[in-house]
């Protein structure tokens, strides 16, 4: 009898403890309809717009407005700028600004603020400063009119003004480095410094007297994680309202839970970027036939099925479906044809194949992907060797020392095709040997100097030329999964993996 009483007491105590803990469970991240908790693996370098990157935009959109708003479909809408027009030469972009916006300390948002921000962004040395490289100066016409003078036309300028470069901070805060952790913008929220732990969680609360349309949440928290397993568990238990999953295994876990709402989006593509099209490191790659052979050698369908559970779309082009340059036919331009690949190699003068060394970062090139590529290329006589690099030294070896003829990368497909052209086609970081030809020069010049929407044919032609010449070896566009705990509707952002902060709303 005594034993039974003890057992009962123990059970009651355990029950009470469980009840207490259950009641407390999730108290660190409990959410209600007026708060939004986003889980992410992207960390901002700081909250200073001069150091902003496109992939970390939600952190900035909470506290800063951009000159131009990018809509979920990739279109542009007024924000701090109510209008924008180019002159005939496309080298002067006139912005008309709102006149009813001020920063917290009363400093007006005006053309002087635009000039200070854009020129600071250009000269600030941030990761995307080069997007303003063509900006010569900003002319202040009056308080609500600013003219951006460009060295050359830049078809992506409005895109950039809706991205990191367009974030407007209070010029009064430019002295010192206070903006890195204490943002000062005109945005819909304010950073709650007391509850923010930089590097872990950022908490934003609604800003009083916001000039624009209020976003639906009183509070937004962005929680940083270093693995998607924790994010999925957070979504399943309602501690995280929304997140983006890239890993196919975690996507499968999320999809298996009926409580989790999922929305797929084919976005970034994975593939080989061939830097050495002039044959500086690997002479064989100077031959278009060799590059075409590599494209024919890769068994994209099998890779997609085996490596990503079929979650994606095979492709041979670097431009995304939202762009003018996109041509659906080019998604299947190179079929898997080892025989044809061997013929092309023989025609190029390499009947016995050749040796190719590529860098390997395990975060991007998994063991199965490494083996699969090695096997496909070996099948046509190309001896692929992987140089295993840690992430600390990889970028140095690849971009600073320029030691490799190419690399496997996951690349975004922005909705604006000129962004892709600048990053991957024109001489620059991803074309560091400066490869070009007459067709590329002619078409890029035509696209650059044409008014918006009037160079779609040339963009498609450029795309086809690059595919035919085998400049790249894209494998597939990867399907990412937007997940939510059912309380949030998320509208994906065209051409971007990370939805804008404006794209979240309570579930209907």
């Amino acid at each position: 009898m005594q034993t039974k009483t003890r057992i009962n007491t123990g059970v009651a105590a355990a029950g009470a403890l469980a009840l207490m803990l259950t009641g407390c469970a999730g108290s660190s991240a409990d959410t209600d309809s007026s708060s939004l908790t986003i889980g992410t693996m992207t960390v901002p370098q700081s909250l200073d717009p001069a150091e902003a990157m496109g992939s970390a935009m939600p952190y900035f959109q909470a506290v800063y407005d951009t000159l131009v708003k990018r809509e979920p479909d990739g279109g542009y809408a007024p924000m701090l700028a109510t209008g924008w027009t180019y002159d005939e030469s496309l080298t002067e972009l006139t912005l008309t600004l709102r006149e009813d916006v001020t920063f917290d300390d009363g400093t007006p948002f005006d053309a002087e603020a635009v000039k200070a921000n854009l020129e600071r962004f250009r000269d600030g040395g941030g990761g995307q400063a080069q997007t303003m490289a063509l900006l010569e100066e900003v002319e202040v016409v009056d308080a609500t009119t600013a003219v951006l003078h460009l060295e050359q036309p830049n078809p992506a300028m409005v895109f950039y003004l809706s991205d990191a470069a367009g974030l407007m901070a209070n010029p009064a805060a430019f002295d010192g480095d206070s903006l890195t952790t204490d943002p000062d913008g005109t945005g819909p929220y304010e950073l709650d410094s007391g509850r923010t732990a930089v590097g872990t969680t950022w908490v934003y609360t609604r800003a009083d007297g916001y000039w624009g349309e209020e976003l639906p949440y009183d509070e937004v928290a962005i929680n940083l994680f270093d693995n998607e397993n924790a994010i999925v568990n957070g979504v399943r238990t309602g501690q995280i309202n929304a997140a983006l999953l890239q890993d196919v295994d975690q996507q499968a876990v999320a999809e298996s839970d009926p409580e989790v709402q999922t929305q797929p989006q084919a976005i970034d593509y994975q593939g080989i970027i061939l830097f050495d099209r002039d044959g500086h490191i690997t002479p064989e790659l100077a031959e278009p036939g060799v590059r075409q052979a590599i494209n024919h050698a890769v068994d994209r369908e099998t890779m997609l099925e085996q490596l990503r559970n079929g979650q994606g779309e095979t492709t041979n082009q670097i431009f995304g479906p939202q762009t003018d340059a996109y041509d659906p036919e080019l998604d299947s331009y190179y079929d898997h044809d080892p025989e044809r690949a061997r013929e092309l190699l023989a025609d190029a003068g390499y009947p016995d194949g050749f040796a190719l060394t590529l860098p390997r970062m395990s975060e991007i090139v998994s063991d199965p992907l490494a083996t699969s590529l090695q096997s496909d290329l070996a099948d046509v006589g190309i001896d692929l060797t992987w140089d295993n690099l840690d992430s600390g030294s990889a970028l140095n070896s690849i971009f600073t020392e320029q030691a490799y003829p190419g690399m496997v990368m996951n690349n975004a497909q922005p909705a604006e095709d000129w962004v892709t052209t600048v990053e991957l086609v024109l001489p620059g970081t991803f074309n560091f040997f400066g490869t070009t030809d007459e067709t590329v020069q002619e078409l890029t010049r035509a696209i650059q100097t044409s008014p918006e929407g009037e160079a779609a044919d040339q963009a498609r032609e450029l795309n086809r030329h690059l595919v035919e010449q085998g400049w790249f070896v894209p494998f597939y566009r990867m399907t990412f999964l937007h997940v939510s705990d059912g309380t949030v509707d998320v509208e994906p952002q065209s051409g971007m993996a990370v939805p804008a902060l404006y794209n979240y709303a309570p579930a209907e």
Binding site: L21, G26, S28, A29, Q45, S46, D226
Partner: protein, 313 residues
């Protein structure tokens, strides 16, 4: 005892300086392009070089280390190169998380291990065999598997505990308990397996000594013999192992913090080391070394208090 503590603290300070110099040197070995890492692959080389110069990376390592040491001695550990967070503040935010885990695991491990070890050592027979089997199982089960099962069952399926996140003790004691319970349990399994076996062996060994037989033959109650005399001698190896495990917990905390999404030092170490964020890593190294020194000192003092012979040696 006081001179012993002062001597240990003095040598600890020396160790701190030596390790800081070595760590800084190793972290500064050529190969990692911090500017490229911060600005990303798309940034022009000119911008990368300018950023490296801005961080002072174009100066000799010795000069950079002395600068860091001078600032550190004044309490300024600098800012993260990658997130601009103040290192001291970052450590202050994250340290309680990891310390909560380490202290919690150590307490749970100590209590359960000593109970099981003494019980098995004194009772022997079936109890001993059960405890040994549990110990083998605890060793054999991979830590990450235990963690994943705990999360899946008690957080995701039953909803008894949060699956991720950390609530500071100051904010809500109940919330804090809820957020650390599963991580502590998952980290304690292997520790209990090891320490309980150690305690069991020591208890059996001490129970066989002449003075214990004498005490028992004089008719002292068994509980008094065990808790006043046997445990005093038998606790030393267990305490030493417990101390070593406390220090080694940082390694286990890395995985547990990642799975539970806990913003602690362990997860931080992995994230920032791969990026080459020297100010943050140096902060973590300093905190860890101080922790190791203080833990060892505490264990030595405890062992000396329990066992006067150890104090003399």
């Amino acid at each position: 005892m006081l001179s012993f503590i002062l001597r240990r603290l003095g040598s600890g300070l020396l160790l701190l300086v030596v390790i800081s110099a070595l760590a800084y040197l190793l972290l500064s070995l050529p190969g990692t392009d911090v500017g490229r890492h911060v600005l990303g692959p798309a940034a022009p080389q000119q911008a990368v070089d300018a950023h490296n110069a801005e961080l002072g990376l174009d100066r000799p390592v010795a000069v950079r280390y002395l600068d860091w040491l001078t600032s550190a001695l004044q309490g300024d550990l600098g800012r993260s190169w990658f997130t601009s967070e103040d290192v001291s503040r970052a450590l202050a935010n994250r340290l309680p998380v990891t310390v909560s885990l380490m202290v919690g695991v150590t307490l749970v491990t100590a209590v359960v291990s000593f109970v099981l070890g003494v019980w098995a050592g004194v009772r022997r027979g079936a109890v001993d065999r059960v405890v040994q089997t549990v110990g083998v199982l605890g060793y054999a089960l991979p830590g990450f598997l235990v963690t994943l099962v705990l999360v899946l069952v008690f957080a995701v399926r039953l909803g008894w505990f949060p699956a991720i996140g950390y609530t500071p003790l100051s904010q809500s004691p109940g919330g804090w308990l809820a957020t650390v319970t599963l991580p502590v349990l998952s980290l304690s399994v292997a520790g209990i397996a090891g320490v309980s076996q150690q305690v069991r062996s020591s208890v059996i060994e001490v129970m066989g000594r002449d003075y214990v037989r004498t005490l028992r033959s004089r008719g002292l109650p068994a509980s008094r013999v065990v808790f006043r005399h046997v445990l005093r001698s038998a606790a030393t190896p267990g305490l030493t192992v417990l101390g070593m495990q406390f220090v080694g917990l940082l390694g286990g905390a890395v995985i547990v913090e990642q799975i539970f999404g806990l913003p602690g030092i362990g997860a931080m170490t992995v994230q920032y080391t791969t990026r080459g964020d020297i100010p943050v890593i140096m902060g973590v190294v300093m905190v860890t070394v101080v922790g190791v020194i203080l833990t060892n000192l505490l264990v030595d003092v405890l062992v000396g208090w329990l066992n006067p012979k150890a104090r003399v040696s």
